[in-house]
């Protein structure tokens, strides 16, 4: 019962945050919505006994990504009038919603054909996660670190100012 109510609250957070993110005109407010959704997600992870994952989510997703996004948004600092003028925003959202509904339904139906009962298991602490990560999943771990390096370099290259010829 307790779990259910926590779930509902967190779900509302997530959905509410997402909707706010989608529909808001100002970019910053969308970013706030996103932040709320990510925090809700972290809570969900905790609810699912993946403690380490919840922490990692907060550190990376909330701490790094959202902060980075906000920094970028503030750097761009678009004025009210230079924001994209979207006269048909709600019409587009309505149409997309209608189009997406069969897909959602399909997705749900497909997913629900998988298991129906949660097994009572251990919770996934950092000890368990670490053990699995560095035994079974070492290779993907290494590759992801290379990926991060490449992404870092790429981001620098893409975002730097053009150098003027002297």
């Amino acid at each position: 019962m307790l779990e259910l109510s926590i779930f509902v609250i967190l779900a509302l957070f997530m959905i509410g945050g997402s909707v706010a993110m989608i529909t808001n005109k100002q970019t910053i407010f969308s970013a706030f919505g996103f932040l709320v959704a990510m925090i809700g997600l972290a809570g969900m992870f905790a609810l699912l006994d993946s403690r380490f994952l919840a922490l990692a989510q907060i550190m990376v997703s909330v701490g790094a990504i959202v902060v980075l996004s906000m920094l970028t948004i503030l750097t761009i600092n678009a004025k009210e009038e230079s924001l994209p003028h979207e006269p048909h925003k709600y019409k587009w959202i309505l149409v997309s919603t209608i189009l997406v509904m069969p897909f959602t339904f399909l997705l749900y139906k497909t997913l629900s054909s998988f298991g129906q009962n949660f097994e009572l298991t251990q919770s996934f602490t950092s000890k368990v996660i670490g053990k699995t990560l560095f035994t079974n999943w070492v290779l993907p771990f290494e590759i992801v670190s290379i990926l991060l390096l490449a992404a870092m370099l790429g981001a620098i290259v893409i975002a730097r100012k053009e150098e003027k010829e002297l």
């Binding site: 069969p102 897909f103 339904f105």
Partner: protein, 624 residues
């Protein structure tokens, strides 16, 4: 040799045509004359050789050039057949044709289109010989059509005057109307005789396969073609207008040869027509009506060539009376004699026209017998022949026809024919006296007529005088040589000799009466007939037939075609196509607007696809 008779004129026409087209200004007088007159002469020699062989008892000759159509059972060869009927036909066609070619060399010598003329003229000769020598109905039809084409080309020879072009069109179109019936007849014949070869010999052998009603229909439809080609009622109206062509054309095509193609066709199909005597009576009736009708109109015409044109129509009516009543040989015999004196009459008329600087109204001529003696003499002989005065050719052939009519108890036809004979004498002598005897108020300067034009007249006069002796009846001491020779399925009649003498005498008397009446009215002073009574007005205006056709047939056709071209074509056909074009344009604009390079829209399209697939998977494929 048989095929050469047909091929040579076509070849010479081709070469002359090529030469003429390569240089229309240069007058290669010698070349064109040599080739243009020489080729028919060669054909004449060949034809006479073949005729001699046939008279000596040779069987029917065949000559196949090549196989033209070969589709399953439908096999048509380009092949020729010279049996006795074709032999007689090609003999006089080539002989008189060559004479007229000689005449034309003189008549047309100052014309710039000299080469073109002989090209067309030889084309005509080839076509006519093809028609007569064909061994199957399809080749005959090819010749039939080509003859019509040559007629069109030659009538419209003086093409700078648009009236001539109209006359040529009229001839061709009316011919076409007749050909419509002709083609249906041939098709019916082919369909009814499926499984057999389609040559005249084969059709004759298998004719019993066709039931009587189909046979009657075929007979009537074939005659429809003849109505057009041989100028009978109701498709005759092109013949007077066709006089717009040069006089040699009128002489050859519209007197001696092309117009007789219809009669030849009936004779060729005699094996068919002898089985359907009712259709024959119909043919004879039309012939009689045309003969009388034309004779009445001719009695009031003023243009020399038009009088002769109506006279041709009238004499053709006689020929159809003959073949309609089953006397095929008599019909062909009349074709034969008529070719001589009609060609002579036309050529004489041409000579008179040239002599008087292209004057064609007989009431503006007169007293020419002093100046144009030779022409007068020859035309006098021809007029006697056509009026049926013995011993000239027309008497024997016309008498044979009328005797047939009387003996087969078709008294009305006989009566009409006899009356027309009297009228024929009347209007022909009217022409002769008005042109040569009457005192004229106008004085003329006579132009010299070239010798090449007068010599053929002499030859033809000789023919008109003597050709009749080929078919003298037994009653007059002859042995109907031509009837026996032709060996066609003539109807056998019996008439006592005394009745025959009576009938013959009646014809002669009527002829002399006509001559006398014409002498009284026209040999002294003449004036053009004026339209002071209603009857006269109607006759002089040719019974207003042209106007009736215009109002009843041509104008409605124009209305229909106007409606179609102004209403149906732009609105319905163009409208439909324009609608399609418009739709395509709109659709293309729509589709091109989907490609607006905005990635967001492309993502939407992906979403649409995903949505459709999900929908399909969910609802159409059932539960997963």
């Amino acid at each position: 040799m048989l095929s050469l008779i047909v091929i040579l004129p076509f070849l010479s026409a081709f070469f002359m045509g090529v030469l003429y087209l390569s240089n229309t200004k240069k007058k290669n007088y010698a070349f064109y004359t040599l080739v243009g007159v020489g080729t028919p002469a060669i054909s004449t020699i060949f034809s006479l050789i073949i005729m001699y062989d046939l008279i000596s008892g040779a069987p029917t000759m065949h000559s196949t050039l090549f196989s033209w159509i070969n589709i399953g059972e439908f096999n048509i060869n380009v092949a020729f057949m010279a049996d006795k009927l074709s032999g007689v036909m090609i003999s006089f066609i080539t002989f008189i044709g060559t004479l007229i070619h000689v005449y034309a060399a003189g008549y047309m010598k100052d014309d710039t289109g000299y080469g073109k003329f002989f090209t067309y003229f030889n084309l005509f000769m080839g076509s006519m010989l093809l028609l007569v020598l064909a061994d199957n109905p399809i080749m005959m039809f090819v010749g039939w059509e080509l003859v019509g084409l040559s007629s069109y080309l030659l009538i419209g020879f003086y093409h700078h005057d648009s009236k001539n072009i109209s006359a040529a069109n009229k001839a061709f179109i009316l011919n076409r109307v007749g050909d419509f019936g002709f083609i249906i007849a041939i098709s019916l014949l082919f369909v009814s005789l499926e499984g057999t070869a389609f040559t005249f010999a084969s059709i004759k052998a298998h004719i019993y396969m066709i039931n009587h009603d189909t046979l009657s229909l075929i007979g009537v439809l074939l005659f429809v073609g003849a109505m057009g080609k041989s100028a009978q009622i109701p498709l005759y109206v092109w013949l007077p207008d066709a006089m717009a062509g040069p006089t040699p054309v009128s002489a050859l095509i519209h007197a001696a040869t092309m117009v007789t193609a219809g009669v030849y066709m009936v004779a060729r199909y005699s094996f068919l027509y002898e089985l359907i005597p009712d259709v024959g009576i119909f043919i004879a009736t039309i012939g009689a009506a045309s003969a009388l009708f034309a004779a009445i109109i001719a009695s009031y015409q003023s243009d020399i060539k038009k009088i002769l044109a109506y006279s041709t129509m009238s004499q053709l009516g006689y020929m159809f009376i003959a073949v309609g009543l089953g006397a095929y040989s008599s019909g062909i015999f009349h074709v034969f004699t008529h070719a001589f004196f009609k060609a002579l009459l036309f050529m004489g008329a041409g000579a008179v026209i040239i002599a008087l600087h292209h004057e064609q109204n007989i009431f503006k001529m007169g007293g020419l017998k002093k100046h144009l003696k030779l022409i007068y003499l020859t035309m006098f002989i021809a007029t006697l022949a056509i009026s049926g005065i013995p011993p000239f050719a027309g008497f024997f052939s016309k008498d044979a026809i009328l005797v047939t009519a009387f003996a087969s108890e078709h008294y009305i036809i006989w009566g009409v024919g006899t009356l027309t004979a009297g009228l024929t004498a009347f209007y022909m002598f009217r022409l002769l006296f008005t042109v040569f005897h009457a005192k004229t108020k106008e004085s003329h300067s006579i132009q010299k007529v070239p010798l090449s034009m007068t010599y053929p007249l002499l030859v033809l006069a000789l023919g008109s005088a003597t050709a009749g002796f080929l078919g003298v009846n037994e009653a007059y001491g002859g042995n109907s040589w031509i009837n026996n020779f032709l060996n066609l399925p003539d109807v056998k009649l019996h008439l006592s000799h005394s009745t025959e003498y009576l009938l013959g005498a009646l014809n002669v008397i009527l002829g002399l009466l006509g001559m006398g009446l014409a002498y009284k009215l026209f040999a002294q002073e003449t004036q053009e007939p004026n339209q002071n009574t209603l009857l006269k007005q109607v006759i002089i205006n040719k019974f207003y037939i042209d106007e009736i056709y215009l109002a009843l047939i041509i104008k409605p056709l124009f209305l229909v075609s106007h409606f179609i071209s102004k209403v149906i074509d732009p609105k319905i056909f163009d409208g439909t196509i324009n609608l399609m074009v418009f739709t395509y344009m709109r659709l293309s604009l729509l589709f091109s607007s989907l490609q607006n390079a905005k990635v967001r829209y492309y993502a939407l399209y992906v979403l649409v696809g995903v949505s459709a697939m999900s929908y399909y998977i969910l609802f159409k494929l059932g539960e997963l």
